[in-house]
Amino acid sequence: MTSDPARLWRIPPEADLRHREWDGEHVFFHGAAGDTHRFSDAASLILLRLMEAPTDESSLASLLSEAAETEPAEAVAALANILTELANLEYAEPVA
């Protein structure tokens, strides 16, 4: 999936995500699928933001860049991988 700074992402409404963090490790429960996953710090950061509200890719990349103290271009590339993973697992989706 090519990146699009303006594209809005959200948690699928039916996902009913739940989250816990212990000692820096993040676990999420996908209510619709009944699956539990442990995600990286970066993916968890994105998910937690999306759980607050739908967010565009540009804002998500900035969030990642600030948190990881990386160059924006690097964050954009990392974000694309994260969003692809989250979309495959149906934890996140672009808003049509």
Partner: protein, 300 residues
Amino acid sequence: MKLGDLSLAQLRQRLADNDLALRTGPFVTRIQSPILQVAEGLLRLYAEFPLDTGEFRDFHVRVGPPSGLRRWLRPQINFWYDDHSPFKPLPANHAFALLEWGLNWCVAGHAHHYLMLHAAVLEKNGRAVVLPGDPGAGKSTLTAALMLSGWRLLSDEITLVDRDDGLLVGLARPVSLKNASIDIIQRAFPDAVIGAPAYDTHKGTVAHLKPSADSVARVGEKARPAWVVFPRWREGSTARLSPHSRADALLHTASHAFNYSLLGGLGFELNAALMDACTCHDFEYSNLDDALRVFAELAA
């Protein structure tokens, strides 16, 4: 009235008449069986358990010979829940073990008003330890040794988490010992009461250990979770606890639970609350005395 108040003849009659309702923790099971081994096993291992006189039974089970020509060719037994038989017939001398497996199946398949984790659980000084463990990890041996050393057994197989308060609910049924662990426990605890072994089962040799009187008497007391410990028997290892991540403990217990996904978000919340309440550890051991010392220090 306790089951042990019955003579063997009286017990056999009640089992034959479908007139035995056994209370094990929150569950009442009506048991029917014409098999002597079942009566002997119940009398030996469930003597302290109360018989129930109420009208409601959670489970209606039967252990007996299957019908048909096969029963005359090779003595076998089967287990029925109502009129449903979830297992294949087994050799006749597996009757008591089959009853135990059947009772586990009843709880694991139906008691969805609890979160049910595949783990042993014991309590000491008001705090409970949950022991998940892969087959062969030494969970049952450690569970038996802890119970015989004064820990209160809640369950050796199914950890019941109360959905209302997150506390752990006891069953206090016999501990299933397998293969070498039978002799290990009998040698370490000569007074332990162990039932007749069933040989050549799909788990090898299986024998059941009678729960302690204290475990049965206090089965109604829920326990507050304090530790999740993943035991691992490894020859020559020194008994020691080491930290285990809570996230991993949740993923492990969830993937080995009987009804985690079925309960949806509630299953996650209950399991997560369990981890919130506990410290999680790996525990490697090779010597029971050393293992018991480490657990005594843990509970002190």
